[in-house]
Amino acid sequence: MDQLLTYPEFPHLLSILIFLPLAGVVPLLFVNNDLFSRNWTLVVTSIAALLSIGLITGFDTSTTRFQFAESHSWISSLNIHYQVGLDGISILLFLLTSFIMPFCVLASWSYIKTRIRTFMICLLVMETSMLGVFAALDFVLFYILWEAMLIPMYLLIGIWGGPRKIYASIKFFLYTLSGSVLLLVAIIWLYQENGFSFFIPEMMWGNYSFTAQILIFIAFFLAFAIKVPMFPFHTWLPAAHVEAPTAGSVILASVLLKMGTYGFLRFALPITPDAAIYLAQPVLWLSIAGIIYGGFTALAQNDMKKLIAYSSVGHMGFVTLGIFVFNIHGVEGAILQMINHGVTTGALFLCVGMIYERTHSRELLSATGVGKFMPIFVTFLAFFSLSAFGFPGTNGFVGEFMILVGTFQLDTALGKFPYLALAAIPGAILAAAYMLRMLQKVIWGGTNNPDQSWLKDLNIREIVTLAPFLFFVFWIGLDAKTFTNMMHTSVIGLLDQLHSHQQQALTAADLILR
């Protein structure tokens, strides 16, 4: 248990943050009033967001241990505990989740018109399970929350989604769930190997046999790659994104996709280091494929949500690329890019939702030329687009740049891939192409402009929703150090351990190749 560090000033802070949204469901069960549902959910999620600032002030950046930790016995007969804690890798994602949620409520304010109470309950349940996933240190707790969140997401898409909502929700559910079935088997196997313990830090870096590692890595990979989603496991994503209501798309893009990459960092690398090193090459090429494929497909889209969804495939390709180059720039860039993607893509989905609320269409052609009548909106959209293709000064630039630097430095024991970074660069150019294409259409429009003069520009609520995202775009873009500092020690710790495994992976590879 020496990996855990408690927080004496506020011992239950983390648990309170995780369960506050769930507790917020209780009044909603008894009061059926639309206005109350909205206000109450906004209050609860905002309190959670404000409270989570306490995590930043109390976070010790000089240790790799899990902080704000708590541990209670849960299912004693099987040694299952309720264990939570945050380290440098998870804290930013935890914060991202708690910050995003109030804006999801705001984005649904007038967008959701039916069954508002149920919708808000789904959002709150969702928040608890997402926060729990990033904080869980017991594998059973992690798995339960990881799967449990499918239910509210399924309902979000299935009830409030677009015309093909049922198809999309089923596809989303089946894909992600069948991916994680083998994860469960892997978890139980690890439980046996570790003296019947589900405690994640104990499972890390425990010298498992190479064959076992390969098998576990494959189980991990299926679960996480589908969630990311990596090419070619991405087909559920565009459908889910397009059909989901705005808040659902934002949650999907900002948080849910990060769970896959978080899974790689938290589990795949530390638990199966040799297999990860050994199998890095195919994963890297898949990432590149995702970047290029996502870019080209996004370029061909006329549905704005689809465009952003496919761009997510490309962006998440960058993240997995960064993780699997196993060096400080790559991994830190990947984590930063996870946050960036959460902020930028979340904001872009909010923007599309705002157009949709006005024109009831997500088609690029019917949104052409709205810039003339919605100057404030277009300003926001322009900045977020710049950030999405990594314009210097914005957050996207820092993240992608770090990942590319990391890729250039790629030098693992199993080989060097000097052309890898070059292969990734067209992705960045493609991103500029599809984003600028969208921007051009939306601002200036084409020849067959419909009459848009009735469009109203953003109201105060919408500006309040978007402004914080813009703030983060520039804060991370101009001062990334603040953010990388929080993760630095943990990432260094992770990489040090990983590199000490390089030799073992090499020997194993030798044996197999021979």
């Binding site: 299912i75 239910i151 049922i166 069948s178 083998l182 469960l184 088997v185 196997w189």
Partner: protein, 471 residues
């Protein structure tokens, strides 16, 4: 007297209903009487929770094990009585007879879990089966006469055959050991298990319970009986007898502790085949009762997986699993009985737009099916998880992987029902009004499904104590 109270109450309930049927009371009165009696029976099982002792020249044992199962059965019976109280699919005149058979069947099942002598087991099993043989064809479904008759005939024929096998196995046991009492057999059988004859005898005896639990290859009756019997009857067949079957399997399997390799391999094959057969067949069903029937076969395979580890925690987890299964199934059947206004069979497509017609029932169905599919945090997930842990502890890695793959297959058909329920219908049907007691009942079931899933510790602990009492 107190030891036998639940059974006596059931017998009394049967008599009361019998007299009611003679008096020709109105169906409402019958219904109220039956529910009151159901509550009394449940109360009696609760009262008997801590009883312990032997009856009838030690052929009948009352212990924590039997009493736990009686409580579960009493509870399930009460729930079935409550949500099946409309009995729409039965002619009004035969309502009392239906209840009479129901109580007699439960009486047989309760006696079954307490019997510790082979002939007593046989008699109790037959008592419960005979009552169900009568119940299955009891259905006023004018247009589709053939179905319930076919179901009745199938259930009867397969049932008779299974009991025949069982009796044959019992005779071998008697021939081998000269006794029909389990406490004698438990000393003799394990040493005999390396002889083929003992293995054959055990397998034959297991056939009887495999039939009740619908494990491959004794599952053939399931789809037709589930489809042909009235909704209320199916709710009963799908839940209470399964409890008794697991109880008896536990008794037999704890007796042959360790089991021997042939035995274990046989059970493994049955378990895998049940899972694959059940899940793959469920994929293509259109009638929701048939689908639940096939899924029941798959779940039985899962329970068997827990039993064949031959370890106390495995047994406790199997008990937890089957108890959870009963609750989840009850939740689904509650919805089916509520949707079928005239007691007709419910096709999956009939559930289209259920969410619009009754959000409450739709959510109940959602939770019931997600729980059956094994999605956390519901009891179905925890049950599966525990059983997988046990199986992996015994190094059945391949078995665990196959079971996990089955879980993935199962999700598809459960989800497709949920999908239909949340789809909007082309032509809107009338909203379904759910009476207050049904709402309370379904809230109760949902809370149990969730509560057992999140806090399984207490239950497992209790289950372990329960199993301990027969080992």
């Amino acid at each position: 007297m107190m030891l036998f109270l639940p059974e006596l109450t059931l017998l009394g309930a049967g008599l009361v209903i019998f007299f009611v049927s003679i008096r020709n009371a109105g169906s409402n009165t019958v219904k109220n009487i039956a529910i009151t009696l159901g509550a009394l029976i449940f109360g009696a099982t609760l009262q008997g929770a801590t009883q312990e002792g032997d009856l009838f020249y030690n052929s009948y044992r009352v212990d924590l094990f039997s009493q736990t199962f009686k409580i579960l059965m009493g509870g399930a019976l009460l729930v079935v009585l409550l949500f099946g109280s409309r009995l729409d699919s039965l002619k009004k005149e035969i309502h009392p007879e239906y209840y009479l058979c129901l109580f007699m069947s439960v009486l047989g099942l309760m006696m079954l879990v307490s019997s510790v002598e082979l002939l007593a087991i046989f008699v109790a099993l037959e008592l419960s089966s005979f009552a169900v043989y009568i119940m299955v064809p009891m259905r006023d479904d004018s247009g589709r006469y053939r179905f319930q008759m076919e179901a009745g005939a199938k259930y009867l024929l397969f049932g008779v055959m299974a009991t025949g096998f069982m009796l044959y196995g019992m005779s071998y046991y008697y021939g081998l050991t000269g006794s029909t009492r389990l406490d004698v057999l438990v000393l003799e059988i394990p040493t005999l298990l390396n002889q083929p004859v003992a293995v054959i005898a055990t397998v034959l005896i297991l056939c009887g319970f495999f039939y009740k639990l619908a494990i491959f290859p004794f599952h053939f009756w399931v789809p037709d009986v589930y489809e042909g019997a009235a909704n209320e009857t199916t709710s009963f067949i799908a839940t209470v007898p399964k409890l008794a079957a697991v109880a008896l399997l536990l008794r037999i399997l704890t007796m042959i502790e360790g089991g021997g390799e042939t035995m274990v391999n046989l059970l493994i094959v049955c378990s895998i085949l049940s899972m694959f057969y059940g899940n793959l067949s469920a994929l293509v069903q259109k009638d929701i009762k048939r689908m639940l029937g096939f899924s029941g076969i798959a779940h039985a395979g899962f329970v068997l997986l827990g039993l064949l580890v031959f370890h106390i925690t495995g047994y406790a987890h199997a008990l937890y699993y089957i108890a959870g299964y009963v609750v989840m199934n009850l939740a689904c059947f509650l919805v089916i009985c509520s949707v079928a206004a005239k007691g007709e069979n419910v096709m999956i497509e009939d559930l289209t737009g259920l969410y619009k017609r009754s959000p409450f029932l739709a959510v109940t169905l959602l939770i019931g099916l997600f729980a059956l599919a094994g999605i956390p945090p519901f009891v179905g997930f925890m049950g599966k998880f525990f059983i997988l842990i046990d199986a992996l502890r015994q190094d059945y890695l391949l078995l665990v992987v196959l079971a996990a793959i089955n879980t993935a297959i199962a999700i598809y058909y459960y989800l497709s029902v949920v999908r239909v329920a949340f789809c909007s219908a082309e032509n809107e049907q009338d909203p379904i009004s759910t009476p207050a007691h049904m709402k309370m009942l379904s809230v109760f079931l949902m809370v149990v499904i969730l509560g057992m899933g999140i806090f399984p510790s207490q239950f497992i602990h209790y289950a372990e104590n329960t199993i301990q009492s027969i080992m």
